[in-house]
Symmetry: D2
C-alpha cells in the first residue's frame, strides 16, 4: 500500500497531517493531571460542534455502533418501545440493535432514498396516546443512500403531538460536516464517531446527552458496564476515566475541534456543501442521478450515485481499487449493485475531489458506461472555480 | 509535556518507535482486501502469544474492560452464576460488572496480596454439585497488588472436581509479558488489552475463545450487539468487520506480535522476569517489601511496594510526577496509600528501569523515607550487569 | 498549511509515507555499528539506481548544488577548462559556479528548449587538440525547460574525438525517474539530490564517481574540506563519516532505493514515461505545447508548458497556489512568464496527476486562456485508462 | 535498533517529540510564501539564541563543518593569516581546514584539557603589528575534552591590543546550551549546528554574521558557491533560497528556538549547568576527574571523564553500546583511550541523566574499575533532588 490517493469512502475520512500527529503520542499517565489538560478542551470543542450548551459529552473508546448501544442501554429498559423509520442500512442496524437488546421497535418502513417521514412519525406519535414510545430514533444522514433527514422537523412533530419521548439522533456521518443543532432541535442523545467529520481514525464514540437523557439513566435497567454513562460521569468529575482512555485519539479530537472552530463551523458546513454540489454537478453531467429522491434530501457528506440499468455499481468500486488504487463505497443492502457511493466529507480540497471524479469517470468508461470522459470533471471544475473564495483558500 | 521520561505505570506501557509508526496510518478502505492483509497476521500472532492453536481471536475497538464485558455477555444469561475470588481492584471490578449484568457472583473473599485461592476454589466447585456455576473468573495478574495467580492450578481444581464450568481469565496485564498457555491451561476465554504487553496505545480488547466458549454464545441471552462475537465471526469469515475497525491499532498489533515472536516468547518472558527481579532487589535494598505475600506470587509486570508505617505511597507518585516528571502507579482500593506501584512491563531496558528506580529513591528521600540514595539502584545494577546477556542486547 | 494536495513542482517531490517514516528517526550514535547498517544498503542501492558497478558513491549532507561543487572542486584546479552547453537555468548555474571557482568555461550557447548540442560538442572537442578541456559538463534533464539531453551521445562524441576529458553529468532531476546508465555512458561523475526521484526531503547530495574521477582528486588543487572526497573515502572505509551525517535522510535513502528496486527500475522509468505522456496529451488537448523543441527532447519528469502569446505563465502558478492550494513551477530565466512548469516525477498516481491537470485547467480558465475545462483531463484519462496495467497497480 | 535509551554522545542530542514532528513535514513549495512563514521565525529565534540584534543569520543545508568552511571562504583570501589555539580535536580540525584552503595558520599549541590561552593570544596579537592576522578562530566549547573557553576574554585581548582581526567562534556544542553573547563579545562569525543545543537532526549549519564579516565577503577571494553568503543574502531578501532548502529542518529549528525562548534562555543554561554538575559530582564520587584542567573550564554540555591508569576509556563506550544499548562518546585524538565522554546537552531530565550514570557505572564495574555501584548515581541524586525546582519541572 502506498497511501498516495485520498479515500472517497463515506468514512473513515482522510486524516489531516496535524491530526495524525496529535494522535501519535507517547504514553502518558492517564491518571495524572496531564490527561485532564487533553480531555477538557476536547469535550468543550465537541459541545460546540454538537451545538449544545447544556449537554454532557461522553467519549467511549469504541465506534459509532458502540455509541448507538450506549444511547439505548443507558436510557431504556427491556420491553420499552422505540419508534424509528427504516430507510437505509444504518437506520436498519440501529433498529436491529434495539431488537437484540429486548426493546420493541415500532418501525416505519420507508423507501430507501427517502428520509425520515415526518408525517408518518407524527401520526405514530399522535396514535401513541399511552406514551409507550420511550424514544424516537433518527438517522440524520443515512450513509447508505446519501440522504439527510429533517431532525428539526421530527422535533416539531414531537412537540406538536406533545409526546414525551426522547429523541436520539445518529449523527455519525453528519456531525462536524453538516449543520447540527442539538439544543435547538431538542436532541436528547446525539451519537457521533471520530472517523467522519472529526477527521480522526476510528476508535471513539462521541455522545452528547441532554438533561432528560441523563435523568433517564437513573431508571434504565438494560445492563451495561463498559458503556455506563454513570461511571463516566463519576470519573470525569474527578478529572479521570473509569478505565484506560484512548489518550491519543482524545488528543487528536482536541486538535480536530480546534481546527473546526478556527475555520468556523458555518464555513466548514459551507465547504462541505460546496464540495458536494460539485460532485452532484458531475453526476448530472454523466447523465446519472443521486439515490436521494429529491434535492432537499441530498447529503453533503456522501452521494450514492445510481448506475444505469444493466450496470453494477459494485464493479466501479472494485475497479477503482484494483486498477487505480482509489477507494469509493459500494452500495449496501437494498441498493447493493444499484449505486456506488462517493464520500465527500472531512478534509478535502477541490483538487482532491476532482481526482476522485476523474477516477470514477475512468472506471465507468472502462466498464462501458455511456459517459464522456472529462464531462463530470468539467462540470465540477466550472462550479468550483466560480465559487472558490475564502473558503477554498482556507481549506487549501 | 515533553514526554522525555519513560512511564512506569502498570500500563499503558512505553510504545516502541516501530509500533508507534505502525499505528500512525493514513486512512485505508477497511472494506478492501488491504484490511485483510493487516488483520490476518495480527490474529495469527495473537494466537501464538495466547498459546492457542484452536482458539478463535476476536478484536474489539475497546479496552480490557470491554473484553471482560464481551466475555460474559456472549456466554452467559441473566441469573447465571459465576465463581470468582476477590483480591484486588481488578478482580473486584470484573465481579462488579457481572453483578451489574444480572449474574450471580459467588465470591471468595481473599486478602489483597494473595492470589487466587486454589483450595477454596476447588472446595466451591466440589460443593456445586448442581453445576450452577457456569464460569470461573480468574485474574491472572492482579495489577493492584502485583500478584500473579496459578491458572493451571485452577484448571486442575476444575478437572479434579469434574466441574463443567468455563474458565475465563483476565490476562490484561500478563499476556505478552508472562507465560500464558490458553490451550494447555484449558482457558475458555482469555482477555487482553492492547496497552500492556502488546505495547500499543489503549483501544483494543483482544480475546481468545475456546470452542466451548464459542458454543456457549449460541445459548447466551445477555444482550449485546457491539460486543457480539457472532457478528465478528460472520464478518471475519468474509475478510471484514461488522463496523469500522481501528485499523491503525490492528496494524500496530500485527507489528507487535511479530516483534514478540521475533524475539521469542520465552525470551520475552525471561526479559520481563529479569527486569522485575532487579526491581525486587532494589525494593529489598530499601528495606521494603512487595505487597505480594510470597515470592511465588510476585508479578513480573508490576510491583506494589509496601511503604513503611506512617508514610503514604500516593505521595511518592505525586512527587515523582510533579517534581521529576515521572509516572508511577498509586495504590488502589484497600491498599490505597499503603503501596506505590512500579510498572515494569513492555518495552524496557536496564537503563530505563534504573532511571525509574533512581527517581523513586529521590522521591522517597525527599519525603523522609529511611532509605539510602543509590542503594536500590546498586542492587539492581549488580543484578542486571551479572545477568545481562543476549536478552539484554536484543532488547537494547 | 494543510498539506492536502500533492505538489507538482519539479522537486522536491511528494514523499511516500514509508520514506517519511524512515527519515523520522530518533538519534543514534553515528560512530556506532548501527550507522553502517543504515549506510551500506543506501550506498549499494544508489549504485544500482545510477547504473554503476564499479563507481564509488559519496553522500554529502547538502543539496544538488553542493554536489556540483564537490564534482568540480575534487577533480579540477584553478585555470582548468570545462566545456558545457547552456540551454536553461540549471546548466547556466553550474557554468556560473565553475567560473566563480576560477575555472575557464567554454560555453556553447544553445537555445532554451533544445538539449545538449551533440555536433557542437563534438566539434569543440575535436578542435581542442591540446586537450585543455578537462571536463565536459552536461545537464541530463534541464529542469527549467523540461528537456532531456543525450548523454550517451555526448560519450560517443568524446570517444569519436578521442578526447580524454572527464564527463560530469547533472542528473538531479532525472536519476531515479529516467534511465541513467553511469557505466555504459562512461559518466565520470553523476550528481543527484535526495529530493527528486529518490522522493526524500532535500538535504543530501548524492554522487557517483568513476575510477577516473577518483584518480583526478589526487591532483586537483581547488580547495575543499567539507566536500572533500578523500575525507569521505577514508571515513567510509572505517564504517564512519568525517563529520556528523544526516542519519535520518540516509535511512530514508536506504528505504527509497529499496522501493525503486522492488518495483524494478525499468518499471519505475515506464511509470514516469506514462504519467508524463498523459500530461503531454493534456497539453496538446489545450492547444498548447511543451517548451522542449522536439518529442525526442521531452523530459519525463517535468513539462514546461508554453503559454499563448499575451499570457503570463507565472500567473497560473500564483493563482494555483493562492486559490487552489496547489504548487506548480514558474518559468525561470529566459522563459520566465513564457511557461509554467508541471513536475511529474517521484511518487505519483494517475489520480494525483489528474488532480494537477484539473487544477491547471481551472487556473487557465480563470485567467481567460482559450481552453476547454476538462479537455486536458479527458485526454490524459483516455491515455491513462488505456495504459493502466501492472505498472499502475503497483504504484497505486 | 529499538531506540529505547537516550543517547549521551555530545551530539547529535535526543530530539524532543515536538521537534521530531516539526521536522517531519510533507513537501511544500519552497518558492511559495509558505516557506517564508517557516523561515522567518527560525531566523528571528536564532538571533535571540546567538545573542545578536544586528547580526545576520545564514542557514546552510550542511553541518557545523560546513559552517566553518563558510566562515573562512566568505571572508578570507588565499594567503591570509588566521590565529588559533589548538587544544582538542575540533580546534584542530578547523585549523586543518584553514590550511587546506591555503590560509596561513598561526597556531598556539595548548595542552588538551586547557582552554584558549588568553595571554598567548594577546601576545600573538600584540606582536602582529602589521596586522597580518585577519581572523582569530576560537572553539568556544572543545567537545573532545569538555573544555569551554573564555570568548569574552579573547575579545578583551583583541581590544586591548587594538587588533582589527575578526573573531570567529565555533559554538557548535555550546550555542543553545551555554551562555553565548555574540554582540556583547564582539563575535564576527558564530558557527552552530542543528544537532546539539538546537536538538534537531544533523543537517543545518547555522551562522551569525556581524557587519564586519558581511563587509569582508565583498573582498574575500576564496572560491565558494554553495556556501556563498552573497547568494543567501540576495535570496533571503526576496523571501527565497538560492537552492532547495531543508524545509523540514528549518521548520524544526523554528520550533526549537521557540521552545528555548519559551523556557527562557537563562533557564535553559541553568538547566544544563545543573545537569552537568550532577554528572561532575558522580565523577568525583567515582574517584575520577574531568579532563578539563580546572573547574572554570568545565563544559556544561560534555564531560570527558579521565579513566584510571591501566584502563581504556574506549572500552567503556564499546561495552555500553554492545551490552546495554547506550551511547557515550569515545576519546578522540590525543586523549583517545584516556577518557570516555558523557554528553549532557539538549533535552535531558534528571531521570534520563541518572540512567546514563547508572549505565556507565555498570560498564566500569564490568571492566574492573575501582568504583562502587550506585556511588555516582547517589551523588547526582543528592544534588538533583536538592536543586530540583521550577527548572526541573519545566523540563520534565
Amino acid at each position: 500500500m502506498s497511501y498516495q490517493n485520498p479515500v472517497f469512502i463515506p468514512g473513515p475520512t482522510n486524516i489531516p497531517e496535524v491530526i495524525r500527529k496529535a494522535c501519535d503520542m507517547p504514553t502518558i499517565d492517564h491518571r495524572s493531571p496531564a490527561f485532564a489538560r487533553i480531555f477538557k478542551p476536547a469535550v468543550a470543542g465537541v459541545k460546540a460542534v454538537l451545538g449544545t450548551r447544556d449537554g454532557e459529552i461522553i467519549l467511549f473508546p469504541s465506534t459509532g455502533t458502540g455509541g448507538w448501544e450506549a444511547a439505548i442501554t443507558n436510557t431504556l429498559s427491556p420491553g420499552d418501545t422505540i419508534l424509528a423509520a427504516r430507510f437505509g442500512m444504518f437506520s436498519h442496524r440501529w433498529i436491529d440493535m434495539c431488537q437484540r437488546h429486548g426493546l420493541k421497535a415500532q418501525i416505519i418502513e420507508t423507501p430507501w432514498g427517502e428520509g425520515a417521514p415526518l408525517e408518518a412519525i407524527e401520526a405514530a406519535l399522535a396514535a401513541d396516546t399511552a406514551h409507550r414510545i420511550r424514544a424516537v430514533l433518527a438517522t440524520h444522514n443515512e450513509t447508505a443512500t446519501g440522504v439527510k433527514s429533517d431532525i428539526a422537523g421530527i422535533r416539531r412533530a414531537m412537540d406538536r403531538t406533545g409526546h414525551p419521548a426522547m429523541l436520539f439522533v445518529d449523527g455519525v456521518s453528519s456531525i462536524g460536516s453538516m449543520p447540527f443543532e442539538m439544543d435547538r432541535w431538542g436532541v436528547d442523545i446525539a451519537v457521533a464517531g471520530s472517523q467522519k467529520g472529526f477527521m480522526l481514525p476510528a476508535g471513539l464514540a462521541i455522545l452528547g446527552l441532554s438533561k432528560k437523557a441523563v435523568a433517564a439513566m437513573e431508571t434504565a435497567t438494560l445492563p451495561r458496564t463498559f458503556f455506563d454513562f454513570r461511571d463516566m460521569q463519576k470519573s470525569y468529575a474527578a478529572g479521570g476515566y473509569p478505565y484506560t482512555p484512548a489518550v491519543g485519539l482524545i488528543n487528536g479530537l482536541s486538535t480536530a475541534v480546534q481546527m473546526l472552530q478556527d475555520e468556523g463551523l458555518d464555513k466548514v458546513y459551507a465547504r462541505h456543501r460546496r464540495i458536494a454540489e460539485g460532485v452532484r454537478r458531475a453526476v448530472a453531467a454523466w447523465g446519472m442521478r443521486p439515490c436521494a429522491a429529491t434535492p432537499d434530501l441530498y447529503s453533503d457528506t456522501v452521494t450514492a450515485v445510481v448506475v444505469p440499468d444493466g450496470f453494477n455499481g459494485t464493479e466501479v468500486v472494485s475497479l477503482a481499487a484494483s486498477k487505480y488504487g482509489m477507494a469509493f463505497g459500494v452500495g449496501l443492502g437494498e441498493v447493493a449493485g444499484k449505486v456506488f457511493r462517493i464520500g465527500h466529507l472531512g478534509s478535502l480540497t477541490d483538487a482532491m475531489m476532482l481526482s476522485g471524479l476523474a477516477t470514477a469517470e475512468m472506471c465507468m468508461a472502462d466498464l462501458g458506461y455511456p459517459i464522456t470522459l472529462g464531462s463530470g470533471v468539467a462540470a465540477a471544475q466550472e462550479y468550483y472555480r466560480k465559487t472558490a473564495g475564502e473558503t477554498a483558500r482556507a481549506a487549501a
